[in-house]
Assembly symmetry: C2
Homo-oligomer: 168 residues x 2
Amino acid sequence: MTDTTDDAPWLTPEQHRAWISILTLTQALPAALDAQLKRDARMNCFEYYVLARLSEAPGRTMRMSALAALAQGSLSRLSHAVTRLEKSGWVSRRPSPEDGRHTEAQLTPAGWKKVQQVAPGHVREARRLVVDVLTPTQLTQLRRAARAVVDAAAPGWLDSALVVLSNS
Amino acid sequence: MTDTTDDAPWLTPEQHRAWISILTLTQALPAALDAQLKRDARMNCFEYYVLARLSEAPGRTMRMSALAALAQGSLSRLSHAVTRLEKSGWVSRRPSPEDGRHTEAQLTPAGWKKVQQVAPGHVREARRLVVDVLTPTQLTQLRRAARAVVDAAAPGWLDSALVVLSNS
DNA sequence: CGAAGGGGGTTGAATGTTCAACACAGCGAT
DNA sequence: ATCGCTGTGTTGAACATTCAACCCCCTTCG
């Protein structure tokens, strides 16, 4: 692959190194987060973020579609995930009273307790893997670079994930 | 999650923004790469990297375990993937003549042709999503930050992926 | 030699995600 | 009223990955 394609110019060595490093990041980081959550809480990262987002919502309740946007997954993926979370007793689901087309997912008391239990370990992992291994300057640089890439790959996606920060 | 855990201190707003941006990156970038490859070549990113790594190997042949390390996947994952690639006629598999315990995977002529076809599009996507949206300085910063995170999350992993660069 | 052990690789079951089809509530037009 | 139409959400099948069990070949040691 290195020098076999001359029409579409290949990457310089530095670009290639960067590319590989970034790709490896996108594999290693989610894997590590999933591993920690699976080990300590028997759930995967997506399920945790569903609970976390719900825990921040008013009444700990959200419509499925809004939750899907915030947790960055398809509606189908969310529906399957909520089915599992419902079976664990952490979330309950019911048609919206105002608009029967919508479904509202609500965090149960057990789910709220679970989030509180699990969050510290997750934050600790976030620190251990990212925040603590970078200088504040590096962290900001990384944020800016990540934003640029995300905007190219999935425009608007990051904004829907960052909405929640406006009320913190 | 924002202010519910006081024992394990939560992240500052800037740290939180960075964290979300990075997480979004780890989701959006692989998704975009997979989408491009699926659309243009009917294969996923992992399968493409298997072919690409094979194409760089002497004799376009590698032992399964070495290939797994280079492509950053488990042996089982690789075995399943190679089964699919074999069905497509792009890879062939046979026990190693020297040591019957090993299996050697070899790129077929059709596989070689396929890689040459697909590589330009993949590189183009790498440029479009990453290389072209960052300044050279940002790219280097991103590489360094990614390396630090990967070293924390999966020590040694990045090195095995970068081996190939020594002969370019 | 022959048996035990270890490492490489494969396999099938379980789990999770995607994709396409479907069900259903509300809305708007006739 | 009723007939579509649209958008929300669910479901089951197909697919990919993980996990654990297993097979086989080589090595080593009795």
